[in-house]
Symmetry: C2
Subunit: 402 residues, 2 copies
């Protein structure tokens, strides 16, 4: 592996900033110092280490652009052909993360733009196990998500045997990486659906800060922090053995009824969410990072955070401690036939077990959340995100070679 003048440490610090470094310290007890950065790494040159205990694309801050794709195995796919594909994808993801071409035939779309913090993250859907005669090894956590009352799920844009999250700070780099991975799958798997999303561009805000969704709300403040003592227990799977260090990813395409939402006053929007729009501070007071005080009284004697506010219903305290690491991207796909914007959130949440993460939270939200009436869940997926790959290994090795 070539680092072209970047030390491994500078590489982590440059690409993932404090989060990646802090995560390694918090989750694995390895102290990884965040180095001083006298010369900030140029956007295109920033690299995220591919190898490690977890796949890249979980602990890193969202990149400016994401391509999501689900693939279905071809009828003739076998354990051997999938093994070969995962070996190839591992090599390719590793090369592209270094800004190197995937192979001699690979075209040069992104060659002049470096990796731009490229990450490739692979997950397996429930049907993957059935198709390859591995049903007995399918984790019970991959059981289908329950239907929620307001769901309007399009199955053609949901599920899939394989799931790829390809993020980069340059859109062409992400697109190109997904094209290469897709071509390598020819004969073994074909794309079932694909979606593009975006997050803040690096440098857009004066300081790195929590992003905003298309409703204009600061979104993601209450995410578990890698420095939390129970961070790994919330986010990473401990078993089955082949999944240890992996995670479960819940994907939802959530359209926002922006025409309705934007008609509300800021005050009303803030009471629905439970946070101030300007800076994300909870209505119970303080700044964005002040913990929400659900018991706090407002000036009128009622709760400062309304009983049906989103932050109350979604809070771990309201859901038996349920938590997940959200890493969603906005999407904007033009207008629908009815004239409404086809825009919203590509919700992505990593968790140790959906039964103690997404499922109880979404059940709670679907019962009383006013925000839910401004949202439509239109696609859904649940995937076992494979553990990271040590040098010399490949994605899914422990599952496929056992």
């Amino acid at each position: 592996m070539k680092y072209a003048g970047f030390s491994r440490r500078a590489l982590i610090g440059g690409a993932g900033a404090g989060l990646a470094a802090g995560a390694a310290a918090g989750a694995f007890g390895r102290a990884v110092a965040v180095p001083a950065q006298p010369h900030p790494v140029r956007l295109g040159a920033a690299r995220v280490e591919f190898h490690g205990p977890h796949q890249a694309g979980i602990l890193q801050p969202q990149q400016a652009r994401v391509e999501l794709a689900a693939l279905d195995l071809a009828p003739g796919a076998t354990r051997q052909s999938v093994q070969q594909l995962f070996r190839r994808w591992t090599a390719t993801a590793g090369s592209l993360a270094l800004g190197e071409p995937a192979g001699p035939d690979e075209n040069q779309v992104a060659l002049d733009a470096g990796p731009s913090s490229l990450t490739v993250t692979l997950g397996l859907g429930a049907a993957f196990f059935d198709r390859l005669g591995l049903t007995a090894r399918r984790p019970p956590q991959l059981a289908a998500l329950p239907d929620f009352p307001q769901d309007a799920i399009d199955r053609a844009r949901s599920d899939g045997d394989l799931f790829l999250q390809v993020g980069a700070d340059d859109a062409l780099v992400a697109f190109h990486a997904l094209r290469v991975l897709q071509q390598q799958a020819a004969g073994t798997a074909t794309v079932r659906w694909q979606m593009s999303g975006f997050s803040r561009s690096p440098g857009a805000t004066a300081q790195p800060r929590t992003g905003r969704n298309l409703m204009g709300q600061v979104d993601g403040t209450n995410n578990p922090k890698p420095t939390d003592p129970d961070f790994a227990a919330k986010v990473f799977a401990t078993g089955p053995d082949w999944l240890a260090g992996g995670s479960y990813l819940v994907f939802r395409r959530i359209r926002m009824l922006l025409d309705n939402w934007e008609k509300l006053s800021t005050d009303r929007q803030e009471r629905i969410v439970g946070r101030r729009k300007s800076d994300g501070a909870p209505l119970s007071g303080g700044t964005e990072t002040t913990p929400v005080d659900l018991a706090k009284q407002g000036p009128d004697g009622g709760p400062a955070v309304p009983p049906d506010a989103h932050v109350r219903l979604a809070a771990p305290a309201s859901n038996g401690g349920a938590a997940m690491l959200r890493r969603g991207f906005s999407y904007a796909d033009g207008v629908r036939a009815d004239g409404a914007p086809d825009a919203g959130l590509l919700f992505l949440a990593f968790q140790a077990d959906p039964a103690h993460g997404f499922v109880p939270v979404q059940r709670s939200l679907s019962r009383g959340d006013v925000l839910t009436t401004f949202l439509r869940h239109e696609a859904s997926g649940l995937y076992a995100v494979l553990p990271g790959v040590p040098d010399g290994g490949y994605l899914g090795q422990a599952l496929l070679e056992s």
Copy 2:
């Protein structure tokens, strides 16, 4: 107007780099020095001046993200209501370009990310004039584009009375700006279609350079340069009076048949385009910026640039000097029902007269261009891009007040 510590000059240099400054010098004989930039402007803080002889969004380099939208006038729209709308849009585009909110009610989606080089560019379709009883003033240059042999145009995603190009280096900033403009149009115009595109992220390449399209080719090298003596004559309209300093914009949504294209060898791709894939240098030799030598012989005695190469057929020398300022963005909208990528180029080209720009070039391409067999033109538009706005004026004033 507040500049919050930015001088007007630094502002132009910071946002538009050499192109904007050079353009002003070339087209208007005003020497605008490009200032030294000891502290490069942060992406979010970079501003593009809204006021000037031309609208912003023509001479500036492509931003990382674009939202394109066409709107149709509501049945009850009048010259007065449109005047009111254009006044409002002018004020809003000016405020947002400075990173200021559009008004007290405006939500704060992008407030923490600055303008991120936001530009808003307004054009008028042919039907605009008929709807407002201005048919007599409709320029002949807005006559419908001819049908070209390989066209597969979806009219529902084409044309439109009004056209907005909203570019920014942060996707949320661009999306939010378009939402605000769209809301302000309520009652007067509704969105007919909307598309999102992307270009390189600032900092992705080590030096600013010509972008690549999704086929992997360097695209845009042969654009007219603001320093060319005839730049203004190629790009800006000289009449009718109300359009002087404006331009004509041809929009085409061009899907790329990437599955077919990517099966070709790099050598074959290069002969179809006429340029090297690695660096964009013409096959007649030199570097990217070396003029294409159409007469040059190759080692086999045949033309170095093949007779049916794209650069030959599109060259001004092959089309009576026809030229246009291309400013296209890539798009990637997932996969189609047939499994092919719904991805390609949102072609945008500014020109003084389509009859001496897009039309002859596209006619030439549609006759013999091999590249054309890998492309599908699926949407189309032609718009009169209004001149820029002086301080105190508003978009379209000369047309609507006469």
